[in-house]
């Protein structure tokens, strides 16, 4: 598997650290049922068989966080973008 880092270009996955499901967002700590939402955000995953949006950290390169959309059935990568920018799907 190679990831096309938007800053460095195509690089081997050994340069990256996997940081999991990118669809998880931090709940509002002041919201209703905040504890339940935090428990779910930390532990529950959709874990799809198919396209999965996920974070990788380019520790062996530019040290950017990137959001990768990848097919978990084939490992084919559909898109890569900086994690702090919206990526088109």
């Amino acid at each position: 598997m190679r990831i096309d880092c938007p800053h460095c270009g195509s690089r081997d996955i050994q340069e990256f650290v996997y940081r999991g499901d990118a669809s998880v967002s931090r709940p509002d700590p002041d919201g209703e049922d905040a504890l339940k939402h935090f428990v779910d955000a930390v532990h529950l995953r959709t874990n799809p068989a198919g396209f999965h949006s996920e974070h990788w950290y380019h520790s062996g390169g530019c040290r950017s966080w990137v959001t990768v959309v990848r097919d978990t059935l084939t490992h084919e990568i559909e898109s890569v973008g900086f994690a702090n920018e919206e990526i088109d799907r």
């Binding site: 930390v42 068989a49 978990t72 490992h75």
Partner: protein, 416 residues
């Protein structure tokens, strides 16, 4: 058909023309008492113990492919009960005891070989960690021993004792651990379950759940609707996919774990050896091949194959533990999909959906657990309450904080 020395002798005289298939390839009926989804080791064991220990007769095991086509045929065949935490150790020791009587119980040769499991340590701190684990095992009535370097050298002289960075200082030894013939475990449970009237239905994929008033009352399959009073999921690797059909989200990520086997060589490794300075474990099959594995690839995957960096990483650890392995040619490698939970321990519990039960989240450890997982899951389904040995393996433990985290690495599935 029962297997015995006599039946072998009789068939020898008969030129082996009288052997029959060891289980029926059943056609699904319209209604069952219990349906188990997943015809792997755990599912078949569950069906067997439901029939034998709980007196149920109307049971089906639904398998989407062929029997034993998942992780029961993809593991590294290790059995052991050398855990640290009370919630785990009692369970795996129950499994070990069931392994010890398994072949007589099932009337099937599963080649259970109690050749011992040796966990190497390389530093004082690691020795203390293993001493603690050895003591924890003994507190649960399980024999353990802490070996020094000379004892390890006498046992497995081929290891790299003079490795400059990670010299072997000794090992944690469980003599009752070992290996079993993985496929034969599935076949044995299928054989014994079939003898008790369990329907084993192959090529029958579950595509949805039948629900009435929030309760699961059966399954929709590629071979039609099948109703049941209770449905058990035993599909580790794909638990999230099956649970999603019941609108459940689980604390699980599916990740790929690779395993390897070398060409056959003369007997060199008499037991299971695990490396303490890297993630690597190895044993030698009865054919002579070295069977080994190491880390997960570390990302979500359902592909049943991994990437080359992990192959390199595992083999580097192997070279470091046992330099002579570099002269052995690798024969095959393959991948299996693991249900990696958020604390590295499994789940055997009811689900929030009435009538639906979950056995999953087995991480690396599903094979050794096969008999006890079947035993405890059958108990849960039949009596609707957890077996005492699996009472800690709850689905809601992440919310209540009663997690079972053997190595204390937090809610990061790829670190367990």
């Amino acid at each position: 058909m029962r297997y015995s020395a006599f039946s072998l002798f009789r068939e020898t005289l008969n030129k082996h023309r009288g052997w029959k298939p060891t289980w029926r390839d059943a056609t699904p009926k319209s209604t069952y008492d219990v349906i188990i989804i997943g015809g792997g080791g755990h599912g078949l064991a569950t069906a067997y113990y439901l029939a034998k220990e709980h007196g149920l007769t109307n049971i089906a095991v639904l398998e989407k492919g062929w029997l034993g086509s998942g992780n029961i045929g993809r593991n590294t065949t290790i059995i052991r009960s050398n855990y640290l935490l009370p919630g785990n150790q009692a369970f795996y020791e129950l499994s070990m005891k069931l392994w010890e009587g398994l072949e007589q119980e099932l009337n099937y040769n599963a080649m259970v070989s109690q050749r011992g499991v040796l966990n190497l340590f390389h530093s004082d701190g690691q020795r203390d960690t293993y001493a603690r684990r050895a003591n924890s095992m003994r507190l649960h009535g399980v024999h353990s021993a802490l070996l020094d370097a000379d004892e390890v050298r006498r046992m497995v002289p081929i290891l790299g004792f003079e490795e400059a960075r990670f010299p072997i200082k000794g090992g944690l030894w469980q003599a009752r651990g070992g290996t079993a013939r993985h496929d034969a475990v599935a076949w044995g449970y299928a054989h014994a379950a079939d003898m008790r009237g369990v329907d084993i239905v192959q090529n029958c994929q579950v595509t949805g759940f039948l629900r009435e008033g929030g309760r699961v009352v059966g399954v929709e399959t590629s071979r039609g609707k099948i109703r049941a009073r209770k449905v058990g999921m035993s599909v580790a690797g794909s638990s999230s996919r099956v649970a999603a059909m019941a609108d459940l989200r689980l604390p699980i990520e599916s990740q790929v774990l690779q395993a390897f086997v070398s060409e056959g060589i003369k007997p060199k490794i008499p037991c299971v050896v695990t490396y303490g300075a890297g993630h690597f474990y190895i044993s030698q099959s009865d054919k002579g091949g070295l069977v080994f594995g190491g880390d997960l690839d570390g990302y979500n995957s359902y592909a049943q194959r991994g990437n080359l960096p992990t192959v390199e990483h595992v083999l580097e650890a192997g070279m470091s533990m046992m330099p002579s392995i570099g002269r052995v040619r690798m024969l095959r490698s393959w991948g299996g999909i693991m249900d990696m939970t958020m604390d590295g321990s499994p789940i055997i519990d009811r689900t929030p959906v009435e009538g639906l039960y979950l056995n999953g989240g087995w991480c690396y450890g599903g094979f050794k657990a096969t008999p006890a997982a079947g035993w405890c899951f059958a108990h849960l389904i039949a009596r609707n309450e957890p077996h005492p040995s699996a009472a800690a393996m709850r689905l809601d433990r992440f919310a209540t904080g009663h997690i079972l985290n053997e190595n204390g690495r937090g809610a990061q599935p790829n670190l367990h």
